[in-house]
């Protein structure tokens, strides 16, 4: 299972429509930065930044060919996010720890 911090990074990377669109495109097959930029009204550097965020989050990988460096989706990372039960279990446990703390605070206030 992926650590919840990695998942936070992945979710943060997903919290942007352009990056989601890039992922949806890559789900159909690998593509170069130029190809990825085509449907967007964005500069190449702007697209590259989004690709960098996705790459850092581990959601995509890039090939080693110096010139093209095609981007492809990282199925394992996508699976960790897609296996949302595994993703959510640690998140819910943290939340309920926090809920217990708030309930304790309420009791203190009542005293």
């Amino acid at each position: 299972m992926v650590q919840s911090d990695d998942l936070s990074t992945a979710f943060a990377a997903l919290a942007h429509p352009t990056r989601r669109a890039i992922l949806a495109r890559l789900a159909k097959g690998e593509a170069s930065v130029n190809q990825l930029a085509e449907p967007f009204d964005l500069s190449l550097p702007a697209i590259s930044k989004h690709i960098g965020v996705l790459e850092k989050a581990g959601l995509i990988t890039r090939g080693r060919q110096a010139q093209f460096r095609p981007c492809r989706i990282n199925p394992e990372a996508i699976k960790s996010v897609a296996d949302w039960a595994d993703a959510y279990r640690p998140i819910w446990n943290q939340r309920f720890d926090a809920m217990a703390a708030v309930l304790e605070d309420m009791k203190e206030d009542d005293k």
Partner: protein, 160 residues
């Protein structure tokens, strides 16, 4: 559900009254205090606590590039204070438009609507809570089609 990966069940006993645990789920100001631990905040929590009423949550994470928000929207399906609460949840745009999982590169069949069921019961020592969070895969009756879909995606990617 035959597919155990498509749901989360957590049981806890809180040293608190059942009414107080109920308020944690249903009062926005209290909900915001616990729902976003680990660096996440909940700047928005709209809760129209009626059957069919809208529930909209903004979760905000801090990233090196500044705050990043994810929005979730759903409706209340069951409100039986202080014992049972059922609501749906989907990822959405800030305006409430649901984001289909395919738009995130997720395999077809990934749940686009999930449901949270909270059951509370007074027990010795406090309140027992059982929470179930499960996915309703798009286009199926709820049986675990989406794990197969993920496998298919994996195969497709490996073949490519």
């Amino acid at each position: 559900m035959s597919d155990q990966d498509s749901w989360v069940r957590i049981e806890r006993v809180f040293d608190a009254k059942i009414e107080d645990v109920w308020r944690m789920w249903t009062e926005a100001a209290l909900f915001q205090r616990w729902y976003g631990p680990n660096g996440a905040q909940v700047p928005t929590a709209e809760m129209d606590l009626t059957i069919g009423g809208t529930r909209k949550i903004e979760m905000q994470m801090t990233t090196p590039k500044g705050p990043m928000s994810m929005w979730f929207i759903g409706v209340y399906k069951e409100i039986s204070a202080p014992r049972r609460l059922v609501y749906t949840e989907s990822m959405c745009q800030p305006d409430g438009t649901i984001i289909p999982p395919e738009a995130m590169g997720m395999p077809e069949g990934h749940p686009d609507v999930t449901e949270v069921i909270v059951e509370l019961e007074s027990v010795e020592g406090g309140t027992r809570m059982v929470m179930v969070h499960w996915g309703v895969p798009a286009g199926t009756a709820g049986e675990g089609g989406w794990m197969q879909a993920i496998d298919k995606l994996g195969e497709a990617l490996n073949a490519g």
